[in-house]
């Protein structure tokens, strides 16, 4: 009993001293709470459906960030992983009869395989070459999908897949919990030693290699990790929509991922997630002006970028926090002295 109380008190202390002192940590906490408890008082099926899809795409955008934001391997063909995950899960479900909890990880493993297959030739390419080459892979696969309508269903895709869960609320919880879990995992990965190496590869690959680190291995690792997470989101999407169609491989999806991630702010993980949670529901709101929907979306993105080229959430964080010059701990912007070392903040 004492032990439980001790841990409870420790939790409260952490909450008071570490979480509640910074606005963005409060925001993350609120985000978790709202997503997890929303269905308790909102059971609108339309809203739940939008939020489920948003969560699925949030995984996709965060996985793009893991590869392209952190490691700097600009990937313009992220739809490949999503599509392979979706088609893999759909095929396994339809022809082998495996239930969703088996097909989604297996589909993600196929996406990892795809990541390795494209990663190995792409390792030799850099920057823009890499970006433009990766754009090609989903299109090649899309051509194959259309050319083999017997297996893939061609234009219509594979339909009649098992539902993700019986009820809408269960599907919502599966998507949201998986999203929160995976995004936290990705954030932990980028915070670990491996993540620092990813950062370093983006900044200066030659220097990393000179420090005795096998950059090839880490780049491949980034490709397969990103492929795995994107594949999971693809599998979730296929089982949620109950169809895996060519739209999962289209160029527009690859571009959409880049827009979400860059709009939120790259190399942060929370940026792309926030970007999806703003922009995807925004697209739904804009349905009120159906004809002008995409035009308004494009204008919003353009004008936001003019003022916040680093991404919306990085900009917000810069405005609400400042770093202590002495101990490098972050503080709320309105504080005069650092909360840890009491050094004056400018």
């Amino acid at each position: 009993m004492d032990l439980i109380l001790f841990y409870f008190r420790k939790l409260l202390t952490i909450l008071k001293n570490e979480v509640l002192v910074l606005p963005y940590r409060i925001a993350v906490l609120l985000f978790f709470f709202i997503l997890l408890f929303l269905p308790l008082w909102m059971e609108d099926p339309y809203l739940l459906r939008i939020l489920t899809l948003t969560s699925i795409f949030a995984i996709l955008a965060a996985s793009w960030d893991l590869l392209s934001g952190f490691t700097g391997q600009m990937n313009f063909g992220h739809a490949l992983f999503f599509g392979v995950g979706a088609y893999g899960a759909a095929l396994l479900n339809k022809y082998a009869g495996i239930p969703p909890w088996g097909t989604i990880p297996l589909g993600a493993l196929t996406a990892v395989l795809a990541g390795l297959i494209i990663g190995i030739p792409c390792l030799r390419l850099r920057g823009t070459y890499l970006a433009l080459t990766t754009l090609a892979f989903p299109i090649i696969l899309l051509g194959l999908v259309f050319a083999l309508p017997g297996l893939t269903g061609g234009e219509l895709g594979i339909s009649g897949i098992t539902r993700l869960a019986k009820s809408r609320i269960t599907s919502y919880y599966i998507a949201v919990v998986v999203m929160l879990g995976l995004c936290t995992t990705m954030w932990k990965i980028t915070d670990s030693k491996t993540g620092i190496i990813f950062h370093a590869i983006r900044e200066d690959e030659l220097a990393v290699r000179a420090s005795g680190i096998n950059t090839t291995r880490y780049k491949l690792l980034a490709f397969s990790l990103s492929g795995f997470f994107a594949g999971i989101s693809g599998g979730l999407y296929a089982h949620f929509m109950r169809v895996a169609g060519p739209s999962t491989l289209e160029v527009s999806l690859s571009f959409q991922v880049v827009i979400w991630a860059v709009f939120g702010g790259i190399a942060t993980i929370y940026g792309p997630v926030g970007g999806v949670f703003l922009l995807f529901p925004l697209m739904e709101v804009l349905r009120f002006w159906q004809d002008y929907r995409i035009l308004m979306f494009a204008c919003i993105v353009l004008f936001t970028l003019l003022y916040m080229p680093d991404g919306l959430f990085r900009w917000l964080r810069e405005k609400t926090e400042k770093e202590c010059p002495r101990c490098k701990i972050r503080n709320v912007a309105f504080r005069d002295a650092c909360r840890i070392c009491t050094a004056p903040l400018d």
């Binding site: 030739p121 030799r124 390419l125 850099r126 920057g127 823009t128 070459y129 970006a131 433009l132 080459t133 754009l135 090609a136 892979f137 299109i139 090649i140 696969l141 899309l142 051509g143 194959l144 259309f146 050319a147 030659l206 160029v251 527009s252 571009f255 880049v258 827009i259 860059v262 709009f263 790259i266 004809d291 002008y292 995409i294 035009l295 979306f297 494009a298 204008c299 993105v301 353009l302 970028l305 003019l306 080229p309 680093d310 991404g311």
Partner: protein, 291 residues
């Protein structure tokens, strides 16, 4: 035999179209390091512009071409100044700004002209029969004009002072700045030239294709493949790469079963194969920031 001529014509035309697009794309990449996704969107806007001027205002197509090129070049330079120049240092932001621009153009066009397929009458009617195959005059004109445009561009880049400034800026931006070249003005002019080329391509190709708001995506992908295949920033490479991919597409369409679906796949696979052997493309140039 007639199949061979069909392949030849189709390959030459799509090759020269891709060459013009790719050269423009690689020019602005070289000078300002902008990956301009909206490049083919300008091509689409020019095509619609011609449709508007010829079909709605009933002005002669030749004038329409001139009007379209000038208007679209202006549009390109204005959108560069407003949306891209202020954020040029942020590569990711520039990238999605150009994607958003392309989407915006696509939507404006589909609002103005609806999403239906439209077509523009050809400049010169009639055809020539070569070994039993119809060769439309329009196709010949398109091909010749494209070659002429590439020649003119080569002259502009290699023999004029402005061309020298553009080439030196793309080699080394900082040193070019130190030598008294106004780098931002060169970037603006290059944007104009590049968009102008895209508009010109659109103007030339429009009688041979159908107009629809999504017509920019396929050329965009092929153009990027050409640029990567030929080597970024290399005119010779873009020229050669364009014909290689143009012919590859034509061969697949005419010879392979299900060719129409696979044409993009095969062309892109060729690009990837070449990159496996030569990672910097056929005639790649190493840029100063990349090491």
């Amino acid at each position: 035999m007639s199949l061979l001529i069909d392949i030849l014509i189709s390959g030459l035309i799509s090759g020269s179209m891709l060459a013009l697009l790719a050269i423009g794309f690689s020019l602005i990449f070289g000078v300002a390091r902008i990956v301009n996704i909206a490049h083919t969107a300008f091509y689409m806007v020019a095509a619609y512009c011609i449709y508007f001027v010829t079909a709605r205002l009933t002005i002669h197509p030749l004038w329409a071409m001139g009007i379209a090129v000038i208007l679209v070049t202006g549009l390109g330079m204005i959108s560069y100044q407003i949306f891209i120049n202020p954020i040029r240092e942020h590569h990711g932001a520039v990238l999605i700004a150009t994607i958003a621009l392309a989407m915006a153009f696509q939507e404006v066009m589909s609002l103005m002209f609806t999403g239906t397929f439209l077509s523009v009458p050809s400049l010169v009617k009639g055809y020539l029969i070569v070994l039993g195959v119809k060769v439309f005059y329009q196709q010949l004109i398109t091909f010749c004009v494209a070659l002429f445009a590439i020649g003119a561009l080569w002259f502009f880049l290699m023999r004029t002072k402005l061309g020298l400034a553009i080439r030196s800026t793309s080699q080394d931006r900082e040193v070019a700045n130190l030598m008294g070249i106004n780098e931002s003005r060169v970037a603006l002019i290059t944007m104009g030239v590049s968009v102008g080329l895209a508009a010109f391509t659109g103007a030339m190709v429009v009688p041979l294709t159908v107009l629809e708001p999504h017509m920019w995506t396929h050329p965009l992908i092929m153009m990027m493949a050409v640029v990567v295949l030929g080597g970024l920033g290399s005119l010779k490479g873009s020229f050669l790469g364009a014909y290689i991919l143009g012919f590859a597409e034509a061969l697949v369409v005419f010879l392979a079963p299900m060719g129409a679906f696979l044409k993009g796949s095969v062309a892109l696979s060729i690009m990837i194969l070449v990159l496996l052997i030569r990672p910097e493309g056929l005639f790649g140039i190493a840029f100063e920031e990349e090491r």
